[in-house]
Symmetry: D2
Subunit: 353 residues, 4 copies
Amino acid sequence: MNTFGNIFRLTSFGESHGEAIGGVIDGCPAGFLLDFNFIQQELDRRKPGQSDITTSRQESDRVEFLSGVYDGKTTGTPIGFIVRNSNQHSSDYDNLKDVFRPSHADYTYFQKYGHRDHRGGGRSSARETITRVVAGAIAKQILNKQGITINAYTSQVGTVRLETAYQELDFDKIEKTPVRCPDWEVAEKMIELIRQVRSEGDTIGGVVTCVCKNVPAGWGNPVFGRLNAALANAMMSINAAKGFDYGMGFDGVHHRGSEVNDLFYSDNQHIRTKTNYSGGIQGGISNGEDIYFRVAFKPVATLLREQPTIDIHGNETALRAKGRHDPCVLPRAVPVVEAMAAVTLLDYYLQNH
Amino acid sequence: MNTFGNIFRLTSFGESHGEAIGGVIDGCPAGFLLDFNFIQQELDRRKPGQSDITTSRQESDRVEFLSGVYDGKTTGTPIGFIVRNSNQHSSDYDNLKDVFRPSHADYTYFQKYGHRDHRGGGRSSARETITRVVAGAIAKQILNKQGITINAYTSQVGTVRLETAYQELDFDKIEKTPVRCPDWEVAEKMIELIRQVRSEGDTIGGVVTCVCKNVPAGWGNPVFGRLNAALANAMMSINAAKGFDYGMGFDGVHHRGSEVNDLFYSDNQHIRTKTNYSGGIQGGISNGEDIYFRVAFKPVATLLREQPTIDIHGNETALRAKGRHDPCVLPRAVPVVEAMAAVTLLDYYLQNH
Amino acid sequence: MNTFGNIFRLTSFGESHGEAIGGVIDGCPAGFLLDFNFIQQELDRRKPGQSDITTSRQESDRVEFLSGVYDGKTTGTPIGFIVRNSNQHSSDYDNLKDVFRPSHADYTYFQKYGHRDHRGGGRSSARETITRVVAGAIAKQILNKQGITINAYTSQVGTVRLETAYQELDFDKIEKTPVRCPDWEVAEKMIELIRQVRSEGDTIGGVVTCVCKNVPAGWGNPVFGRLNAALANAMMSINAAKGFDYGMGFDGVHHRGSEVNDLFYSDNQHIRTKTNYSGGIQGGISNGEDIYFRVAFKPVATLLREQPTIDIHGNETALRAKGRHDPCVLPRAVPVVEAMAAVTLLDYYLQNH
Amino acid sequence: MNTFGNIFRLTSFGESHGEAIGGVIDGCPAGFLLDFNFIQQELDRRKPGQSDITTSRQESDRVEFLSGVYDGKTTGTPIGFIVRNSNQHSSDYDNLKDVFRPSHADYTYFQKYGHRDHRGGGRSSARETITRVVAGAIAKQILNKQGITINAYTSQVGTVRLETAYQELDFDKIEKTPVRCPDWEVAEKMIELIRQVRSEGDTIGGVVTCVCKNVPAGWGNPVFGRLNAALANAMMSINAAKGFDYGMGFDGVHHRGSEVNDLFYSDNQHIRTKTNYSGGIQGGISNGEDIYFRVAFKPVATLLREQPTIDIHGNETALRAKGRHDPCVLPRAVPVVEAMAAVTLLDYYLQNH
């Protein structure tokens, strides 16, 4: 199953070291004037080699649109696109041919499919998220036109945790730190930690927080199309994601109902809530307040130091990745989280319009 | 959207104070001899009034099967079933007719559908989970025959948290405490806290942990049908769920890759991992290790003390629920979590067989 | 797969001699005031025993709604409904227990599911169409409010064929003949033929024609959601249907393009076509002209005379149905064709609104 | 909706005069060694310019596979592919920019999407079937390995109709006539008629018959996944298709039940039917006999002579296509019918294996 969404649907294909990564976006509304520069910018946010705390691997991911656009506008027919894999040093991976890398998908793909494309993770590579970012960049443009904004940021790296509530953050600062944390003091500590971890040939996990503003009340389809369930599904489909929560989430379960019930008030004819422990979703349907959620990411499994493992014959061996990997997935996960949020929300928007 | 699953599909209907709650199970394998007592037992685990820490409301939920079963065996045709709502004191809810209860789905349903069935939450009531438990009880039986077991338990209530790893727990003890926590010392504290909270007319949240054993390697469909994403979607579709994580989850993100990579070893021809931070799923596909995950639940929104709110005209008012509600959703959420896990896993089983 | 539709979705269950036939309608718009008498009338059009040319079996099919309706209006939540099977003389079918009836689904169900409910065809019985008629009666009401009308009629029985174009027929006459043919002269011949066939213990096939008026231009989703393909799928899902065509259909293939191209003209700002060989659909999308199509039905397989056959052990035997079967499926197929057309069209309406 | 299938899923994109036509095949079994020459041969059967009775337009459609294949074998991951549009004389179509061609999709696309890519029909062009032929060529290979064969042929052109039953035809002769009719005498007459029609600047319709052998009993999912309904849906999704029937079809409705009931017999432990009016499908499930069906195609709408029409402003005008169009769609429809049959059948095969 490589299709996401119901009305706005992304179908994705491509391995990291095959000819190309690509996708088909079906159900995009007709007549929308696309900003192609914005799409490329979003792709650039995702690409490796942006700073010294991400991988130094250089990838120039240029998207080529093959259909569904005419005179710069969407036509309502499916949008096919590809991004060529320019950097196919497949021989780099010859040593991995028969080896299962720990905490990668090597073993499970092998079990499921019987054989696998071992080069750079094949289909399980993070390069697959390219198609999500392209679709997300289109979805964002359409949502933005409705006033909806989506901003994600790194809120935790290892034990360094941003404690400030999102309401007090300046989202314009997010892109100005390489770790994509809008509090520069905390960002500094995160960067320091990532450099330390990198110097040890190790990796570290963290949390991305995402905030969606101006989503109107009424989006979400109980009981099996709840907006929160759709977001959970979207986020857990991202490589390395280990958890999702929204509103009060895991950290709020110790509260009493009387503390976290969001009381209503009438604000100049609009019904609002005084607090937002619900995270903008009640009974699976948006209530007009900000939607905010968190996604936990595990440390990258590829280490720049030797690890013991076994090969497909069960023999013990060891492996050590070559020097071009992320010590921390968080900075590059931020645009992917935003993209999946955008794709998910647009689907509900189109159900209502 | 009231249908869950791809091959084994549950379609659910019914409001808490309508004629009946019911469902249709499509795609159930033919020729399976059903244990109807087991189905009823599972329903009894979900029903209110089981102990003094759950609601004292008595519901005798008897399931009636209408199709798809012949001579005690499934026929492969859709299984229709209903549970009559015996306890329809609709007039109890007259005072709620025009009022939005805080942190319920009243306001969002009203926004989405324009009008609503205000009686007892209507479709957003937890009674809707009855159909899930029925489907889950069937799914469990089929999975059990394959050796797969699913056990959930209450691992946190408010600040009382069970710290013991699941491997050291005796799951046979789960059902022996009303709070469904297999560590009796911790259970005692949970019960105490719930009683305290109840005495204050308040409610409290918590966490359910679920463990699925003997799931074979190879289940899961990257990239948009990952087993973890399907489980997240399933769990977040349950009333009051605010978060999902699996394996190391949120609590493990501070670890380094070198600490949490699950190293492979060969155990008498079987490939196993020495640790299981991955939670039994790698690259979205099961790896044969135990699958374990957590679901966070918020405190029940219905309080037994007065709360201020507004009505549909925006006027300020107050409400106070009558005395038959759960102070803590956790004990009754346990069988629902198990049911949704069973339904989700069976879907993948059927894809592979 | 017992679910039909994408947005307006019918999930159906029930065997002819089980407890009940029923269904769940999901995605019905909220706030629509239903005419329950109309729903029952539509069911009555489908039921056996309406005249001497249909089966004399009496079935009083009363539909009970269980959810999704409040104060007579749809609430937007799923509409569950059941029709009890009052007439369960299962013992009538004991002689069929191990026998494959020719040209029924007995053998194929047995092959697929391993065992079967032999009573009256079980799930393959025409009683299953009850749920379609209920869903169709709801869909019709919603479409009618948009000015869309759907009329089907018997256009052929055996060799007796109504040659008059639909434009020249008075649809008000359809229900006034038991064979549901609006041309009384032709109807007379059809009835005569059916009586003759019946007297011989035999059965006869025919064709239903259906006309949908006032469908706006723009419905249909190329390339795999073409409106004509959806109608074909809907019609071929009806018991005993053997063919579908629309517009010029099979009978028009001998024409030249210059004869059957529908030339456009401008009618007071509206773009219309002078002819309608296209059948109201071009490129899979409605063009605003009448949509008309035909459905071919084979003769009923149940004969009132002896037929040789074999049993599940491969032994030769013979069978002879007891005296309560339709000699001709056409009259009772008419409301089912209309219902499936209504359900299909409503799905596209909801995609556009 | 540009996705076809449930398990083996084709998602298609591309306009006739855009950059490329392409698709994604998801759900293809892993480890299958593909014959790429066969895929290209199938594409060549579809391409224009094969003989003097098809269009003289030369298209060299070379398929490029981008993913999902490694070492010549399928990997189980999605197969992305593109076919570049080499022949983009878009300026040829400048005169069509504001004109609605009669009986094309110009007007309906304009109504639905608000604007359109007018070049060569855009998405509604027959070039879109390229992706179906690629997917079909893969499906055929997998089915062939199971012994299943699929053969389509032209059985009617205008009034020239092949009356011989398919059982008496030699399918090896199909490809040896440019009209793809295996009876050379009839083929001669068809070709003569097509030449005549072409000389008049006109076009002509016809019928394709398709025969699927060795499909095992048990494929098909009542009631809304009937194999016949899936085939109808597949065939009616092809450009210019106006009708579908199977088994006795429209031509058999005049028969009596006693004439067309397929009597069972036991053939050396196998249960067979003496006749096959059912067309190999009973109750929506294959019964092991040959599956055969017909597809009616209208005459090509593009004429090589002047036709009156109107433009998007409602003004009267006239148009005349330039000289590179098919006078008869049938010969090139044959491989497309086979491809869609293969894709449909493979989906059911994978459900059962």
